[in-house]
């Protein structure tokens, strides 16, 4: 398996960008408030550009609930909810750690198929990635 996953469980700032791309700013200092993350430039220790589609987590739901992507695509989930969630494959092929508000998680899908995933803390939250 050549899949990769990337965790961002430390402090960071997340900026939505046009065309489904986003910039992740990794910080060495504790995260400021969400408002501050959005408004103010942060001291950067490292900047990683996240390409590809995003799935947001809000109100105990993944959005979009179904996402179709070509093989080799990296999907990034961003927890915008005020509760801890995870992104966990139904068959446990991949799983994030607990994602706090503002945390992101990425996973690269290399093999075509239908991947059902859920939040292992709130298992009624389910969604699907279809890899063509």
């Amino acid at each position: 398996m050549t899949t990769q996953e990337h965790h961002t469980s430390t402090a960071y700032a997340w900026r939505a960008a046009a065309a489904g791309a986003a910039v992740i700013v990794l910080l060495a200092t504790p995260a400021p408030s969400r408002a501050a993350q959005i408004e103010a430039p942060m001291p950067m220790t490292r900047v990683a550009k996240i390409e590809g589609p995003q799935v947001t987590i809000d109100n105990f739901a993944f959005n979009p609930a179904t996402l179709t992507i070509p093989a080799g695509t990296t999907v990034t989930w961003a927890n915008q909810d005020d509760m801890l969630h995870t992104v966990t494959a139904a068959n446990r092929l991949f799983s994030s750690k607990g994602l706090e508000t503002g945390d992101v998680y990425s996973y690269t899908f290399t093999t075509p198929g239908t991947y059902t995933y859920f939040c292992s803390l709130h298992p009624r939250m389910t969604a699907t990635i279809i890899v063509k």
């Binding site: 105990f60 909810d81 005020d82 801890l84 859920f118 803390l121 709130h122 298992p123 009624r124 389910t126």
Partner: protein, 324 residues
Amino acid sequence: MAGHPDAHHHHRIQEDTGNDGLNRRGFLECMAWVGTGLLWTVSGGILSSRRLAFAADEQIPRGSFSFVQISDSHIGFAADANRDVTATLQVAIERINALQPAPAFLLHTGDLTHGQKPGEFDTLAEHLKSVAPKQVFYVPGEHDVFADGGKEFLARHGRGLVGNGWGSFDYQGIHFIGLNNVADLKAGGLGTLGDGQLEWLERDVAGLSSSTPIVVFAHIPLWAVYPAWGWGTDDGERALSYLRRFGSVTVLNGHIHQIMRKVEGNITFHTAMSTAFPQPAPGTAPSPGPMKVPADRLRGLLGVTHVSLVPNAGPLAIIDSTLA
């Protein structure tokens, strides 16, 4: 935490050995409660509960005992709904310590921690050192096991428990059963007990007289409170089917961070408040996320549960107390 041997506890706690004291003690160390304070009085085999704030004023007759349930401490949670969950936990502990006579033991019905981060279990243990009842029985919530499959929980609180963390003990004629319905949750599902635990439960109660009062405690409600929000247990009905022949069954749960009660035949269901943050009533919000309330209202939505038993005097008395 040091449980002490008690002549009334016996060795139903572990199925592979006839040893008593150590296992008995071990089980006692395994269970504690988080999040809620509910004072339970057991009276003639029937539980009743009342809110802790009032409980301290009530007289408990001779020959009776009480225990306390707390739940959903969520150590590590720090969002707008409650920026200091250790402070509210400490208020719950102080309420418990004010109870006279002192409750016999404490049940924690899960979600000790919020994220299983380093130090969260330690913080809870540190606070509970100051609680008067020295025996604490814990069952896990999903927040205690999701990151590591329950390894840390079992290492800390699993001694004497069976499987991935369940067990039973007897205290003054009442059979207490702690269940784990948060292990290996499935996509789209609710809480789950699993075949192994259900078979154990059937065996555990098989030899008991139907007049034995039963108290079951587990994190996620065993009854379908609100499945759309995950508030129920997929195979909970099968567990209850083994208990319906008993004259008095009391089911104590947490998970939903609010008090809900239901009586179904001889089975009384009761959920406890959290010590950390409230959640909305079923269907009253877009999601079951933490409910933000003005600071002066928060403690009125958190609490403890005190259960008292009075011999031959009817139901167990359940009293829920807020921290306000």
